[in-house]
């Protein structure tokens, strides 16, 4: 039997159990990506059954199909343009009335629809009995019962999808919303007018177009102008006339009256199909909320959950991070052993393996973090977190849900920015992404520890704390600034459903977690690889450096000298001499390494940038360290180790680096300016790659890089020069 392909779109309200049904239908054969041009997540999966190839597309969860939010536009456009064979609308049975509102709009689109009554068992417990046959009859579409979290009804649903897709039925024209005499008359006349002017040019249901024009739907207007041409203007003009008349008649916007009628229609259906047997006895979810969003306990419990998430992510994550670290260096050594010494070995070991290794090390953090976030989302706690924190976040012009991504930024900005996917409004998402790097991530801490530890002694803790605080204050200021300039517009209204708590499903959690981690691994791989290779190239080339001294000869002479000394020396001092000799040679090698970096491209670049950095109190070594920090912020420390502390062996290195820094002419003031600079300037390559992916735009990515670097320079300049002015050194 040849296989036939069917496209199925899953629609439904947020929290209707849509993603569970999606997982049940498709199993793990899913593809997660973005809808073209926007940052709304698109999930697609495949099923093969009875010779049919089903492609299931998970539409964004929406309450309606008006064109107000990006999710609604995406969902509606998919149904209009891709013309799926069947649209499956998932209805939360315990919340039938509001869920049916979307259903009435889907029916108007004239596609084949199957309704799924999900979680009817739960509704039953709460005393609601739903008559599926009656519902099916009233709406003229098949109704399937499912219990998503127990995987019940999935086979039934698949069978219904196929039979509806195969049925060659004329779509029933009856049983649709009746908008009242006045509006129906306007719809009828406008439909005639459209048919007259644009017959055949519009691939949509004419009645639907008329309804949308009376509702002043801007996307439908645009489409008509595009598809019909000059006559489109006439259609729009006619629609505007009718709108005016209706507005005069009702003394109200027509779309408001129409919304009322839809709900009236829904109320009629609910009245017939839903029987309340008894009032609910105990509402467990509500009782949980008596504690979790309690006036006194709510915030402390929230703080505890966040603390626990941090602990899990960074303490538990430290173990596998260690293993990966060991594994990466083992791989580096092994591969290095296979390859002949030279440029290729350097490229692969120091460039690629070390570079990608420095990022893949975050994988355990990311897995755990996303597991926690999936847990928050799937249980319904995320909405409560937003409820608790909205007042605070509103100060920056953000939604309560922005709090968690921002907080996660203190751990690592890359997964934190990925966590902004939970935000519905695109502007909120971009703003949260832009200010996220100001939350000082854990990779920057080693830099602060080194600088503050060297220059602030006992007050190091305060200095580091003030840097974190500086980040938060800047985030608030920058957030407010962006909100009032480049990301203007009203803050998204906080009309947020607080869904009943649900026990999470293991499979759902794992899929959720893996999907996001996979994105990190796959997409980051490319950019990070390129970034590391570029920085490696800049620091490894030119290969042949004209050294100011002949190190090799000096080394040879030195070792010969010591050999002679040792040969002459009495037995007991030989060991000491041997060690002394090794030390001297190491010092020489470190001098050589330093000179090599100094003369490499990145060193030259650092020197070239001296005029830029010297007003901040940083010399060329500081500039080079900051440049290499683009790969990962903690690399700033190791670069400084190479550049400043040349000539010390490993054990003494940290102490030697400290004293070398003190000798280098750095002052507490310039150290503090550098800390501030490291806090604010361009985030590491992994974060930049995530920003690119999550904003889906190079424009925003470049903007993020540019604004953060300019701001960093400005702040460091003010600190250093201002400090000098008031007499700090």
């Amino acid at each position: 039997m040849p296989s036939k392909s069917i496209t199925v779109a899953l629609a439904g309200n947020p929290n209707s159990g849509k993603s569970t049904i999606f997982n049940n239908l498709t199993g793990t054969r899913q593809k997660v990506g973005n809808w073209p041009g926007v940052t709304v997540e698109k999930k697609e999966g495949h099923v093969t059954i009875n010779g049919y190839q089903l492609t299931v597309v998970d539409l964004p969860g929406t309450y309606s199909l008006t064109a107000y939010t990006i999710e609604e536009i995406v969902a509606r456009n998919f149904v209009l343009d891709e013309k799926p064979d069947v649209v499956v609308d998932i209805l939360d049975a315990s919340n039938l009335e509001r869920n049916l509102y979307l259903a009435t709009q889907l029916r108007e689109l004239d596609t084949k629809v199957v309704f799924v009554l999900n979680m009817a068992d739960l509704a039953g417990q709460r005393g609601a009995k739903i008559d599926g046959d009656k519902l099916s009859e009233l709406l003229d579409v098949p109704v399937v019962f499912t219990v998503g979290n127990r995987n019940k009804g999935t086979q039934d649903l698949l069978r219904t999808i196929i039979s509806v897709a195969e049925a060659d039925i004329e779509l029933p024209r009856t049983r649709r919303v009746y908008y009242g005499k006045e509006i129906e008359k306007a719809i009828g006349e406008l439909s005639e007018f459209i048919r007259d002017k644009a017959s055949g040019k519009l691939p949509y249901n004419i009645r639907w177009i008329a309804i949308k024009l009376l509702e002043k739907d801007r996307i439908v207007k645009d489409r008509i102008l595009q598809a019909v041409g000059p006559e489109g203007e006439m259609i729009l003009g006619e629609a505007e006339k009718k709108r005016e008349r209706l507005r005069g008649f009702f003394d109200e916007e027509p779309e408001i009256v129409m919304t009322d009628h839809r709900y009236g229609f829904v109320a009629g259906i609910v009245k017939e199909a839903l029987k309340m047997v008894s009032r609910e006895r105990v509402d467990v979810s509500r009782q949980i909320d008596q504690v979790l969003t309690n006036r006194l306990l709510g915030l402390p419990i929230f703080v505890f959950f966040i603390w626990a998430m941090f602990q899990l992510t960074f303490s538990l994550g430290a173990y596998p991070m260690n293993w990966i670290d060991v594994g990466v260096s083992w791989l580096g050594q092994t591969v290095g052993g296979w390859l002949p010494e030279g440029i290729l070995q350097d490229l692969i070991v120091d460039g690629m393996i070390a570079g990608v290794g420095s990022v893949i090390i975050f994988l355990p953090n990311i897995l755990i973090l996303f597991f926690c976030i999936a847990l928050f989302e799937d249980t319904g706690y995320m909405a409560r977190a937003a409820f608790l924190m909205d007042k605070v976040m509103h100060l920056i012009g953000l939604h309560g849900k922005s709090f968690i991504p921002l907080l996660m930024g203190f751990g690592c900005n890359a997964p934190a920015i990925m966590a902004t996917r939970t935000l519905e409004s695109e502007k909120d998402r971009i703003l949260t992404i832009l200010i996220n790097p100001l939350m000082s991530c854990s990779a920057r801490l080693p830099v602060y520890i080194l600088l503050a530890g060297t220059f602030f002694g006992a007050k190091a803790g305060n200095a580091i704390f003030s840097i974190y605080a500086l980040g938060i204050v800047l985030a608030i200021l920058v957030g407010r600034l962006f909100r009032s300039t480049i990301l203007t517009g009203r803050v998204a209204p906080f009309v947020m459903e607080l869904p009943p708590y649900r026990a999470p499903m293991c499979k759902g959690l794992l899929i959720h977690m893996w999907d996001r981690s996979k994105i990190f691994l796959k997409k980051m791989g490319g950019v990070i690889l390129i970034g590391s290779v570029v920085v490696w190239f800049l620091s490894a080339f030119p290969q042949k450096v004209e050294f100011s001294r002949d190190y090799e000869t000096e080394k040879a002479t030195l070792s010969k000298q010591y050999q002679m000394l040792i040969a002459k020396a009495p037995g007991q001092t030989r060991e000491g001499l041997l060690r002394e000799g090794e030390k001297a040679i190491l010092a020489l090698e470190a001098q050589m390494a330093k000179e090599k970096v100094e003369k490499s491209f990145i060193g030259r670049l650092g020197k070239l940038l001296t005029p830029v950095f010297s007003p901040l109190g940083m010399d060329w070594r500081g500039s080079v360290a900051v440049l290499t920090g683009f790969v990962a912020k903690e690399i700033v420390v190791s670069t400084m180790g190479v550049l400043y502390a040349a000539g010390a062996d490993e054990d003494e290195k940290s102490e030697a680096l400290k004293s070398a820094l003190k000798r280098s002419g750095m002052t507490p003031l310039s150290a503090y300016a550098m800390m501030a600079f490291v806090l604010i300037y361009v985030p590491c390559v992994a974060t930049v790659a995530v920003i690119r992916r999550e904003t889906n735009s190079w424009k925003w990515t470049l903007f993020s890089i540019a604004y953060s670097t300019c701001l960093a320079w400005l702040v460091a300049f003010v600190i250093y020069q201002g400090g000098k002015l008031i007499g700090l050194a």
């Binding site: 107000y68 509001r98 709510g298 909205d390 007042k391 009309v495 607080l498 869904p499």
Partner: protein, 79 residues
């Protein structure tokens, strides 16, 4: 009277939703229709937003957004 003046535990009936087009429409679509009963479940710990129950589900609104919802027939004493 408007919704934001209600206390926890009070119930009222919607008269009209004000505000600009998209906000107003969104609220109507979420069920804030004339004649709908709304119960004030609680205020968040920081006094904003408000948790409401209507049509059998829970929803939250900011206080300044709730101020756009005109209500009448307030019942219950509230706390």
């Amino acid at each position: 009277m408007n919704l934001s003046e209600l206390k926890e535990g009070q119930t009222a009936t919607v008269v009209r939703v004000g505000g600009d087009g998209s906000f107003r429409r969104r609220l109507l679509e979420m069920g804030f229709l004339q004649g709908t009963k709304i119960y004030v479940e609680k205020y968040a710990p920081l006094k904003d937003p408000i948790e409401l129950i209507l049509k059998g589900y829970h929803v939250s609104l900011r206080v300044d957004e709730a101020a756009w919802v005109q209500v009448e027939h307030v019942q219950g004493k509230g706390t």
